[in-house]
Amino acid sequence: MAILIVAEHDNHTLQAATLSVLTAASEIAMHSCDTDLHLLIIGYECQSVIAMAQGITGLSKILVSDHQIHQYPLAENIAPLIVSLVQEQDQTQAQYQYSHILTSAGTTGKDYQPRVAALLDVAQISDIISVESADTFKRPIYAGKAIAMVKSSDIIKVITVRSSAFTAERLTAEPLAIEDQVSVVELAAQADSGKSAFIKAELTQSSRPELTTAKVVISGGRGMQNADNFELLYTLADQLNAAVGASRAAVDAGFVANDLQVGQTGKIVAPDLYIAVGISGAIQHIAGITGSKVIVAINNDPDAPIFDVADYGLVADLFDVLPELTAALKAKS
């Protein structure tokens, strides 16, 4: 049996989250006899994604379903495809081909993985943060206020992986040498489910790194006072090549779009450096940032709860601090 990893991509670029999933998959492989890792790429005109995948070390096969019905990932089309792959019996051993199906716990994986699991009549294990053995995993519950260790009794484990909990390596800058490249298997086209259709996408255009994979994240809260003041954060972010996030208070106040929200109900981040600016530190926000290596808090209220989790706290007016910090970093670089 092998482990199937479903790639997350946008038909152009392989998301770094997939590399974290590969790390989790190889940890599972170490605990079991499944040594083969197969990467499944589902998309349309996604040659550049396949080319990137050729630079991943440790894969033994790349499966590709490149068809127009997968231009936008619809669970109604993806789930039957994955299920058919899994149910294809291994000719020699009369057992399922795959012991585990893994993908990242982004909104796409969270959409189709439970559908895959139900079609296979197995449980789904969401958002794992550690691999204890081939069938036992840790995952946060109650928004990270507790960590549960769960053991699965299913033959096939359908899993979503919290990418910020695993390192993202295994990708070489260039495709591997031809002799080291693994075979690419093209899968036959399938019929569209006809049940759902893509109408439109409104994606936030940004040249900054993605929140969940950035090494540095700077978030603003209600203390930013209005949308215009977020410019101060963007300027600082450019200096640090950082992603910009926001607290729920800032999102609800309409300062920024809701996909920038960091916290329990938004994005869970785990950067090397997290800078919270004008954020008081509601429990729901802190739940989303505790995986960060270093937390810096800048707030003019010395009693703000954010200081209880911050490695470095600066009690000062953010409107004084931000330009000064930007200038100081510029001077150093």
């Binding site: 669970a75 079609l119 109408i199 936030t204």
Partner: protein, 250 residues
């Protein structure tokens, strides 16, 4: 149009949950219980559809102990018409929840099933998608806007990583709702009184013909590692210095 709304009884979101000392679970004795906030948004949406005239009946369904009738009454007070309680004292896992809901869907034949995108206790985010798989219906997860369109379709705007995406689903469909879909109302006193006379039908997994088969065993539940408060720095210069020399992150 009939809308079925699934409701989960969970520890109130304002309760500061504690891990039991023996690491077997969460302390739930004498803890305030409530409707899962995402489910409440689903009920509110169904009631709004009824008020707008696009739905005729809103039916709630809950799987839980006898005490879950409190949450169902609260949902009925928001404006739902009647409710079904599938009584069990067991801890029911997502796949079994989906199987039980599937039976209810076969009996009730709703045009739309609304659920919260996840429950705030287990944080699984699975049940709606699993129900869609079992019923063969299309799914719209993490909805922030829902509009019925002709002929017999529903347009769903979903909150995804990086923005929004809009899909058209054939009815009947399963939709799981996200936070920004609406803000649930407070039940008025007359509506709370009226809810007392509404019907809650009792059933059980047995009478629905579903034998619960949990696949996941909770080996232990532990408290997350606590972060210690660090140091306060005096000014920007000291902060930059610490980040460079001590933390080495810039």
């Amino acid at each position: 149009m009939k809308i079925l709304v699934a409701v989960k009884r969970v520890v109130d979101h304002k309760v500061n949950v504690r891990v039991k000392a023996d690491e077997t679970g969460i302390e739930t004795a004498n803890v305030k219980m409530a409707i899962n906030p995402f489910c409440e948004i689903a009920i509110e949406q169904a009631v709004r559809f009824k008020e707008q005239g696009s739905a005729d009946e809103v039916v709630l369904v809950c799987i839980g102990p006898k005490e879950a009738d409190v949450q169902l009454r609260a949902g009925l007070a928001l404006g739902a018409d009647r409710a079904i309680l599938i009584r069990t004292d067991d801890d029911v896992q997502s796949l079994d929840v989906a199987k039980l809901l599937h039976k209810v869907v076969q009996e009730e034949l709703p045009d739309l099933v609304l659920l919260g995108k996840q429950a705030i206790d287990t944080d699984n985010n699975q049940t709606g998608q699993m129900l869609a798989a079992l019923t063969g219906m299309p799914q719209g997860t993490f909805a922030s806007d829902i509009v019925f369109i002709v002929p017999n379709k529903v347009k769903v705007t979903r909150e995804i990583d990086g923005g929004l995406v809009t899909l058209a689903l054939n009815l009947p469909a399963v939709i799981t709702v996200d936070l920004r879909l609406n803000t649930p109302r407070y039940a008025s006193l007359p509506n709370i009184m009226k809810a007392k006379r509404k019907v809650i039908t009792m059933t059980s997994p047995d009478s629905l013909g579903v034998s619960l088969s949990p696949r996941l065993t909770m080996l232990k539940v532990e408290a997350p590692p606590v972060r210690q408060a660090g140091v306060k720095v005096a000014d920007v210069a000291e902060l930059v210095d610490k980040l460079q020399q001590q933390a080495k992150v810039i």
